[in-house]
């Protein structure tokens, strides 16, 4: 699975992109977020307030928990500020 980070999430995690192997820990987006929080202080901080973290799976916004597969691209980013 490909994970992407944008804007201040990227800055705080010092990472734009990573590839992780599928496991039960990331069978769906809720599980993935729970696992993310366990990865260290920076991750815990970034995922502490989910109000300011948007999630996209395969470049589409998701609403609610979403099942994930090996080939999926998951992106975490703050509310958008373009325009």
């Amino acid at each position: 699975m490909k994970i992407l980070y944008f804007a201040w999430l990227k800055t705080k995690l010092q990472m734009t992109e990573e590839t992780i192997s599928w496991s039960e820990d990331c069978r769906d987006t809720d599980s993935l977020v729970r696992w993310m929080k366990t990865r260290g202080p920076a991750f815990a901080e970034v995922f502490s307030d989910l109000e300011v973290v948007r999630i996209a799976v395969n470049q589409e916004y998701i609403t609610g928990n979403t099942t994930l597969g090996k080939e999926d691209e998951i992106a975490f980013f703050p509310p958008v500020t373009g325009g």
Binding site: F6, A56, Q59, E60, A75, P78, V80, G82
Partner: protein, 152 residues
């Protein structure tokens, strides 16, 4: 039509290209968003825009499609830049063409309001003291976008 690009664009040329050779268009509305020297009270010296390649194009295409289903449009264009931008430079351009001015106005306003809350772009501001900071989401933008949902 949508375009995501690093380069600056010429507003006049873009409007021209959309209407040239056509005699069935009665109304053209354009919106241009520019880099301002002040944002939320901060002295801004420049802007950098990050985006999510792939998802950006998808979202813009969806927003454009929605506008064309809601209003009588003969042509529409969204151009959004990413990368470094100087003060006064254009960031985004939306153009709508319709036989009716009301449709052209409403559609352009809608496109901007939705784009502001849906298209995956993030602004980073450079300030006079050398700081860079990520621009925060605005409550007014969220409200502006909602207007088009509740009215539907």
């Amino acid at each position: 039509m949508i375009r995501v690009q690093r380069d600056i664009f010429d507003i006049g040329e873009e409007i021209e290209a959309l209407t040239t050779g056509r005699t069935d268009i009665g109304a053209v509305v354009s919106f241009t968003g520019l880099v301002r020297d002040i944002n939320d009270g901060n002295d801004v010296t420049g802007l950098s825009l990050e985006h999510y390649p792939g998802m950006t194009e998808r979202e813009l295409a969806k927003i454009e499609k929605e506008a064309r289903s809601r209003w009588d449009l003969q042509a529409s264009l969204i151009i959004h830049r990413y990368g470094e931008m100087a003060l006064g430079e254009p960031i985004v351009l939306v153009v709508t063409a319709s036989p009716h001015r009301h449709d052209a106005f409403e559609a352009a306003h809608f496109l901007m309001d939705w784009l502001k809350t849906k298209a995956p772009f993030w602004k980073q501001e450079m300030t006079a003291d050398g700081d860079t900071s990520w621009v925060k989401e605005r409550e007014s933008d969220v409200k502006a976008a909602k207007r088009w949902t509740t009215n539907a």
